[in-house]
Amino acid sequence: MSFKENILSSFMALENEVDTDSYVHGLRNEALDQFEKLGLPLRRDEAYKYTSLKSVFNKDYRLFPREEKNINYSDIKKYLIHQIDAYRVIFIDGVYSSHLSQTTHDTFDVCLMSSALNNKKYATVIENYYNKLAGKDSLSSLNTAFAREGAYIQIPKNTIATKPIEIVNFSTGSESAMMVQPRNLVVVGENAQVQIIERHQSLTKNDVLTNSVTEIFADKHALVDYYKIQNDNESASLIDHTSVQQQANSEVRLHTFSFGGALTRNNLNFVQQGEHCNSLLNGVTIIEGKQHVDHSTLVHHTAPNCESYQEYKQVFDDRAVGVFNGKVLVDKIAQKINAFQQNNNILVSDKATINAKPQLEIFADDVRCSHGCTIGQLDEDALFYMQSRGIGIKEARALLMFAFANSVLESVKIPEIKSRITKLIANKLKVNIGFDL
């Protein structure tokens, strides 16, 4: 059965089962039509020129898990930022795990998408925000057609979420190959603040494909601090679509740490709709083997006097492939904006590849836009210098790579995340040195 046939027959099964009379039901049908019309993205599509999804979609995925899996906290503790007190929304094979999660409805809502979709109390929010921002491309549409579960986060006006919120999607893959499609909605009210950590983690060697969609709305003066930790198994692929809409004076900071997975595609779209917005898109990629990481970012300036700042630092070893496709679009009305984009790459091996494609489309005439892209190797002189001081070659390389990525880590606001990322990098580079630089 081809992927598309599988999708259509699975959709019929889903339709009979869920929310036949809800608002979302109508969206599902439209989205499926859209997916059918567009088909899977191909290399000849400009957006997927450097990332082939062929190997990802030629597997026979099961779209719904057969049974609910039980997992103990001790099995997954290491994947959580467990040193800090946090709200947690945890899914196992796309199914919510109540005993691993900690949700709240006290002064703000951290809960499941399924309960938000089925609860009248949230109907207005759902109708105002759900699927209003997500792209209409084929894979986002596929998610909209099938999405049943994910995190629902709503922070009302003038409220500060007191603890960070962790969204973790585990896959156990007792099924042969499995596809999950999480759907998150984050609505942050005027002058409200939230910190969110998102992770997708496979606990199996079986193939897992995650096609995830997250919509983030930041109202006036809101502050959203969002971290994506991507350090999955080599049998797990992730296609992520995250869209952010910002109103005046809001600040959204999004960090993506890509350290593993077979194929990772990050579609990150920001749209600034009010004046004095601030957007930060930072990323560190360190991959090896045959891993593939694609960052496709779009920052759309539709209002004057805003700022956007992108910094992606990437290291590729072996035959790893990277794509950085960063686009900044400045509307005619968006005068006096400041858009900055920086993409620095180190190719450790001769066989590694980076495809870098910065794009600026500027229709306003009084703006500051800059972009820089570099591709280089580790500095041999610096390596010898460090060795001559007693630092082994492996550690010297690690230290140089860490120093290279460090400017991005400096903007991480949660110390526990910074130290977690530091440890992940040390593990990844197989060195045992403290990078407390």
């Binding site: 010898f384 460090m386 001559s388 001081r389 082994g392 070659i393 230290l399 140089l400």
Partner: protein, 250 residues
């Protein structure tokens, strides 16, 4: 301590060192002088283990062990230190953390535990005072944006931190004004002991007024063509290198 025996070395197939012999004993200071392109820096790099230089013949014995096949870090762990003619800038790594990594990696290789943070701080304070280094300077990225003098002072600071058995100072005086030269030389002299040794590589006699050598060797066309006491340096200062060249050619 160090015994360089008949060392030949090439870079990109070109022979630079053509049979160097040199013996350095604990407590001694040796100066290696010579005109440009005579192979002085090559010798320093070959002893420190730089890969680009291929040692085609000879032995380098350090404390009874042939180190010619060891990696640069292994040589450092055995007490060899090279002060670079052109110290490398390493953005993103502070001086302090670089030293922490260097000291702890060396201790690890020697089977010791990491140095406790408190001791490390004390050591840093003590050695930075010796080199008259401002503490603020230590949190800056290694060598990045440092002046010539700061870079060289930083090299000797690293040497003071690592307490090597054998220090090779490659053109440490180049780019130094007279005050910086005095501070650097003063640092080197304070670190001298009967158990360690120093090789000073220099163009000019000037540095040797401050760091007084026991032996002076003249390197020319990849060979040591003349050796003597400190008076040889004065003679070179007065007469230049031409008479040596003439002696060799004749």
């Amino acid at each position: 301590m160090l015994h360089v025996k008949n060392v030949h070395a090439t870079i990109d197939g070109k022979e630079i060192l053509k049979g160097i012999n040199l013996e350095v004993k604990p407590g001694e200071v040796h100066a290696i002088m010579g005109p440009n392109g005579s192979g002085k820096s090559t010798l320093a790099n070959v002893i420190a283990g730089r890969e680009e230089y291929e040692m085609t013949d000879g032995e380098i014995i350090m404390s009874d062990e042939n180190i010619a096949d060891l990696d640069p870090e292994e040589r450092a762990h055995r007490g060899i230190f090279l002060s670079f003619q052109y110290p490398v800038e390493i953005p993103g790594v502070s001086v302090t953390n670089f030293m922490k990594a260097a000291i702890n990696e060396t201790r690890k290789a020697q089977g010791k535990d990491e140095m406790p943070a408190k001791d490390m701080l004390k050591l840093i304070r003590e050695k930075s005072e010796l080199l008259e280094i401002d503490r603020k300077f230590l949190s800056r990225s290694l060598n990045e944006g440092f002046s010539g003098g700061e870079k060289k002072r930083n090299e000797i600071f690293q040497m003071a931190m690592l307490e090597p058995k054998l220090s090779i100072l490659d053109e440490t005086d180049s780019g130094l004004d007279i005050d910086a030269l005095r501070i650097v030389a003063n640092g080197v002299n304070k670190l001298r002991s009967k158990d360690n040794a120093t090789i000073v590589i220099t163009h000019y006699q000037r540095l040797l007024d401050y760091i007084v050598p026991d032996f002076v060797h003249v390197l020319y066309k990849g060979r040591i063509v003349k050796s003597g006491g400190k008076e040889l340096a004065h003679e070179l200062e007065k007469r230049g290198y031409d008479w040596i060249k003439e002696e060799v050619e004749a």
